[in-house]
């Protein structure tokens, strides 16, 4: 995790750029691998992939430390990776193995690592919003300088918890950043259909907090806006709604036929508008990273993801007694 906040992405250090690009690649390659393995029937349960939205998770988490908390969604792999969760532990969790981050008891929708400030992917739409308020409340009561980030989808913005949480964060001036990943779809219904508001960030005006909508496929835009929001939160200036317009490359869940998608829009999203391609071009243009640097990172990440798969496949399933352990701390 990186700590310093920088006003402009162009001034980003080489070290920071490498961290960001590595995390984006990790998410892309991890999700692509999960997509392929799931298709072969080797991953149990429900899986929702984050590929395409990398610039949001990474652009925001680039400003956080392990002490800062994030809440996540059912589409949580990207948030986990950006917040520093171990790839082996994540993949093993998705495989349901004993070596998983949650000992194989959570699975794709519940990967968590509280030691990294990752308060869990969450199977309930809208659930992360109040949870983020709680982490912000802890920071306020304990007078730490920590912040909480709530990642949520455009679908969750129609949920009551969004309004309850934003209102409470506003009246208590909590150090919380509400990051809406507006990918245009809540399951198989479009944002335009399901939401009366034009922009999620418009609610910021009503709740009298900071709000902004950015191009969520553009890492520098997310990075700069998130940096300002985190800085405001740390200074005690209260919450922000940061709406990131993005697109999910895969379906709502693996196996989704995606008949609701426009083929041209999909094609553009995965080619010229691709977040990773755009960040590569940006770094080359501003001479932050070279073609060779990028190639090296791609290779390292490929090896890391392959290792995560090997680790998972070779890991045992949990012991039988794990069915009933961890229900309570004590009972």
């Amino acid at each position: 995790m990186q700590t310093e906040t920088q006003a402009s992405a162009k001034d980003m250090t080489v070290e920071k750029a490498k961290w960001i690009y590595t995390k984006m690649q990790e998410i892309r390659q991890f999700e692509t691998a999960v997509h392929e393995i799931f298709a072969k029937g080797e991953i149990p349960g429900f899986v929702h992939l984050y590929a395409g939205e990398e610039a949001v998770a990474v652009g925001v988490c680039a400003h956080l430390t392990d002490k800062d908390s994030i809440t996540s969604t059912h589409r949580g792999h990207g948030h986990c990776i950006a917040k520093g969760c171990d790839l082996n532990g994540m993949m093993a969790e998705i495989y349901g193995r004993a070596t998983g981050l949650c000992k194989g008891k959570g699975g794709s929708m519940h990967i968590a690592d509280v030691s990294k400030g990752m308060l869990g992917a969450n199977g309930i739409v809208g659930a992360g919003l109040p949870l983020a308020i709680g982490a912000g409340l802890t920071a306020k009561v304990k007078k730490t300088n920590d912040v909480a980030v709530c990642f949520f989808g455009d679908g969750a913005s129609n949920h009551g918890t969004f309004h309850e949480a934003v209102n409470m964060a506003a009246i208590w001036k909590l150090p919380v950043i509400f990051v809406c990943e507006n990918n245009g779809f809540g399951e198989a219904s479009t944002f335009d259909y399901a939401a009366a508001a034009d922009r999620i960030s418009d609610f910021a005006k009503v709740y009298k907090i900071a709000g902004k909508t950015v191009d969520g496929k553009d890492l520098p835009s997310v990075y700069e806006a998130a940096g300002k929001a985190v800085e405001r939160a740390r200074k005690g200036e209260g919450p922000t709604i940061l709406e990131c317009l993005t697109y999910r490359d895969f379906g709502h869940f693996e196996g989704d036929t995606q008949s609701y998608k426009n083929k041209e829009v999909q094609q553009k999203a995965v080619t010229e508008d691709d977040a990773i391609l755009r960040f590569q071009n940006y770094m080359k243009k501003h001479k932050i990273l070279s073609e060779e640097d990028i190639h090296d990172i791609d290779k390292q990440v490929k090896a890391a993801v392959e290792e995560a798969i090997r680790f998972s496949e070779e890991s045992p399933f949990p012991d039988e007694n794990e069915v009933t352990t961890d229900v309570y701390v004590s009972y």
Partner: protein, 344 residues
């Protein structure tokens, strides 16, 4: 040293003891202080909860730790869950247990699941205080006793204190427990006086109390119905029957041993519960005893409960709705095949 105080004062005392002992304990809920940002109150509380149970606590600990929330149960309950997971020990007040419909996800899917779902690596030391109970003419949406709903859910602990002494000790145990605990405060018991220990003490969960010993009949009373059971036991004693009355104190964990050992001795069991009769604490205990002590039973297990109907408003109807000593005696007379008891 014991002091005399009410059930309500015992709650107030327990919260203060906990907040003095650990600065991570906070109290959060709707109007737990009341009157936030009202100039003329000069930061004094207005209410201290809708029944005045937490009155005075904000004056001692300040509004940073006694937090009035908007009327938004999902929002503040979720916040309490996560505050617990990130280092605080919140006491979150759900004004009436009937309001759980507005925040069941936060309790059922978040608080109850974190420890398990995250492989034992997260803890949620959250205490939810909530008001239950009929007998107050508060009608169908403010009178339910929904403890069975929570007992059903693994990961939650469920506490039903029936007197001031137990309330203080069980509530303090809840606050310093590392699991999410829901403590039911029966609104009709708030004025009940009793001896309470001074200072800090806890009562462990899963330890029932035998309120009176007997060899002819076991009655398990859930929540305030333990008092109805005691009255029935008095009347049965006059007819020469010795009743053992058990207060389970906590429904999750449940002290099965004390109940089963009693039934082994008496051979007869009545469970008295003012909650709805289906999928309830009463049916649960009946099933456990039927499963584990069937051979010791001399008569079918009887349940004296509310009917399968919402709590009515009209006072005469509500009276009919509730368990009574006579209903318990009627059940017992069926068990022993003796019609004499219908005239007790």
């Amino acid at each position: 040293m014991a002091v005399k105080m009410s059930y309500s004062e015992a709650i107030n005392d327990a919260i203060r003891q906990a907040m003095r002992k650990d600065e991570n304990v906070i109290l959060i809920g709707e109007d737990v202080a009341g009157g936030a940002e009202v100039d003329h109150l000069q930061d004094q509380g207005a209410w201290g909860g809708v029944f005045g149970v937490t009155k005075g606590i904000v004056e001692e600990f300040g509004r940073d730790r006694v937090i009035d929330t908007p009327i938004a149960e999902s929002g503040y309950m979720g916040a309490a869950v996560s505050a617990a997971a990130t280092g605080l020990r919140p006491i979150s007040e759900l004004m009436f247990n009937d309001f759980i419909g507005s925040c069941l996800d936060e309790v059922m899917n978040q608080a109850a699941k974190f420890h398990y779902m995250f492989g034992g690596k997260a803890k949620v030391p959250l205490t939810i205080r909530t008001i239950d109970g009929a007998g107050f003419n508060a009608a169908a949406q403010h009178s339910q006793s929904l403890y069975a709903l929570f007992t059903h859910i693994p990961g939650l602990k469920v506490v039903v204190p029936t007197n001031p002494y137990d309330m203080k000790g069980l509530l303090l145990n809840a606050i310093f427990d590392d699991d999410p605990v829901i403590v039911f405060e029966d609104k009709t018991l708030y004025g009940m006086k009793g001896e309470v220990g001074e200072g800090f003490y806890t009562i462990p969960f899963g330890k029932a109390e035998i309120k009176r010993a007997g060899k002819d009949l076991t009655i398990v009373g859930i929540g305030k119905q333990v008092h109805t059971a005691m009255k029935a036991a008095d009347q049965l004693a006059k007819k020469g029957f010795e009743t053992e009355v058990i207060d389970p104190r906590t429904l999750s964990p449940l002290d099965e041993d004390t109940i089963i050992n009693s039934v082994k001795k008496t051979g007869r069991l009545i469970i008295v519960d003012e909650a709805y009769p289906r999928c309830s604490a009463a049916t649960d205990i009946a099933a456990i005893v039927g499963d584990k002590a069937f051979d010791y039973l001399d008569a079918p297990i009887k349940r004296v409960t509310a009917p399968h109907a919402p709590v009515p408003f009209s006072p005469p109807l509500e009276k009919l709705y509730m368990p009574t000593p006579q209903k318990i005696i009627d059940a017992f007379s069926v068990m022993v095949g003796d019609k004499v008891f219908s005239a007790v």
